[in-house]
């Protein structure tokens, strides 16, 4: 009888211990990483608008992904390639144009409040022109996809071998605010590496210039951990 009681007590204690461990330890988060993480960014940049509606290629802004480990956050100067002349959304511009026509005046330049932040980061006024009184201060973007320090991931080897950005990052072109879609755990990486290793050139959404042949997909630990 005392044996049964002990076993019950032990199980109960284990259960409580497991619960405490689950809810008190931050480490437990490592199990599923930061899946679903959607942090607020310093300005409401929309991937849905730029990559989705306007169809701008991922690599136009994240050009580092093709040639280096890091995809990188583009410098604000790159935004100015377009936003030097585009200062507001099409809807707002059309409204202003209509209003101006009705009132029989010339359309004013309008600047969306979000783009004002971009211009301010470059030391420019709301009209997009350089303004001496504004101190340039880079936007502090919040990193969404963050791997642990003991893992090394290389964007270029994946991108140049035909792995579409969406395979890992999910449907970014439909996200207003970027969310971490995959779990980005080791099992998640290995799943793909194993299936690629078997089928060599599995049919994926590939880019035109991608090599699809002779892929050596490593499952060596030291490929990522060193």
């Amino acid at each position: 009888m005392s044996v049964a009681l002990n076993a019950k007590t032990f199980l109960a204690a284990m259960f409580v211990f497991a619960l405490v461990a689950l809810f008190s330890s931050a480490d437990v988060q490592l199990l599923n990483g930061q899946q679903g993480y959607t942090p607020d960014q310093p300005m409401a940049y929309s991937h849905r608008l730029h990559a989705g509606e306007l169809g701008i290629d991922c690599l136009y802004c994240h050009y580092g992904a093709r040639t280096s480990r890091h995809a990188g956050v583009p410098p604000a100067e790159l935004c100015m390639n377009c936003h030097g002349s585009v200062t507001a959304g099409m809807d707002a511009s059309a409204l202003e144009k209509a209003a101006a026509e009705e009132e029989g005046r010339e359309a004013r330049q309008i600047t969306s409040p979000e783009l004002t932040k971009l211009y301010a980061s470059l030391g420019r006024g709301p009209d997009g022109q350089l303004d001496e009184s504004i101190e340039p201060k880079p936007l502090e973007w919040v990193r969404v996809h963050n791997l642990p320090d003991f893992v090394y991931f290389n964007h270029s080897v994946h991108v140049t071998r035909g792995v579409a950005c969406e395979s890992c990052h999910g449907p970014v072109s439909s996200m207003d605010k970027v969310r971490q879609e995959g779990s980005m755990t080791m099992g998640w990486c290995i799943d793909c590496h194993r299936s690629q290793g078997v089928t060599k050139a599995i049919k994926m959404e590939t880019r035109d210039d991608a090599e699809r042949k002779d892929m050596h997909v490593s499952t060596d630990c030291a490929a990522c951990h060193y």
Binding site: D149, F150, Y152, V157, H225, Y226
Partner: protein
């Protein structure tokens, strides 16, 4: 104290191996040849061309300047724990530079050589031997260390449970245990190399042949649509890249055209403790130090 003992032991071992290496080379020529150019691993058969990384260290060129030791520390984020730890035998050492007791096979010989300060420039740099038949991987209970398909004895820090069996098994003492969490002084923190993970306390660590540099070179070559050139590899690891007399050469032993394969075939080639059958892939070039005078080197 224990550190001194370890050093003495290693020094003695190296002296014995180098002093007595030549006769054993002659006798076991066949085994030697097999060891230096190992057959391609069958398990890696699909891609026929697989590298087999190896290193040649020319002891006749080594001046004992310690640049390899310093650059290894700096490249691989090995913390400087100070003299106190070294005295306790807790220092972390991937590349060691040990004085070579010239040809001393007995204690009396060694003492004599030391007493005369016969040749102050005789040192032996010892990185991980990356054996083809490593003793360390056989004792690891969690597969944290293994021989990868490019012939490197890899150690996965995050998998290691810190049992230290591998340290006991390694006949070259090329493994170190992290007795405490690595720390850097504030002014040194910016020197941490982002390409190499820092190791937490409680795990064993070792030389990786600067695997991150190998990978970077391969990835760069792949982007350029070419093979990695031997010229890029020769001075690739941190120790080799800084060696002033270029005594350290790195490369692919499977590539018969590579500099390292040429050097490994030299009659001066010998390896440490090869009678143990570990088949180390670090090859030392050294004239026969028992009798030949320096002028007859090569």
């Amino acid at each position: 104290m224990s550190s001194t003992t370890r050093r003495d032991l290693l020094g003695g071992l190296s002296a014995a191996a180098l002093g007595l290496g030549l006769p054993s080379l002659a006798q076991e020529g066949e085994e030697q040849a097999e060891g230096l150019a190992p057959e391609p691993n069958d398990s890696a058969a699909p891609s026929a061309k697989r590298a087999n990384w190896g290193m040649v260290i020319d002891l006749d060129l080594c001046t004992g300047c310690s640049a390899c030791v310093v650059s290894c520390r700096s490249e691989n984020n090995i913390p400087l724990n100070g003299r106190a730890d070294e005295a306790r035998g807790c220092e972390i050492d991937w590349m060691s530079l040990l004085p070579l007791k010239n040809g001393g096979s007995s204690a009396a010989d060694s003492a004599g050589a030391e007493g005369e300060h016969a040749d102050p420039s005789e040192f032996i740099p010892i990185p991980c031997m990356h054996c083809d038949n490593p003793a360390c991987i056989k004792v690891c209970p969690v597969n944290a260390t293994y021989l990868n398909d490019e012939g490197l004895v890899a150690q996965i820090w995050d998998r290691c449970i810190g049992c230290r069996y591998c340290m006991t098994a390694c006949p070259y003492s090329r493994r170190s245990f992290n007795w405490k969490h690595p720390e850097w002084a504030e002014e040194h923190r910016n020197l941490i190399n982002p390409d190499v993970a820092t190791r937490p306390d409680g795990v064993v660590e070792k030389c990786t042949f600067c695997y991150h540099r190998i990978r970077t070179a391969k990835e760069k070559a792949r982007l350029d649509g070419r093979e990695v050139q031997d010229s890029e590899l020769q001075q690739l690891p941190a120790c080799a890249s800084v060696c002033p007399p270029r005594a350290i050469t790195f490369g692919d032993l499977n590539d018969p055209e590579s500099e390292v394969a040429h050097l490994a075939a030299s009659p001066r080639a010998r390896r440490l403790l090869e009678h143990l059958g570990t088949k180390p892939k670090v090859v030392y070039l050294s004239r026969d130090r028992r009798e030949a005078p320096r002028s007859k080197a090569r």
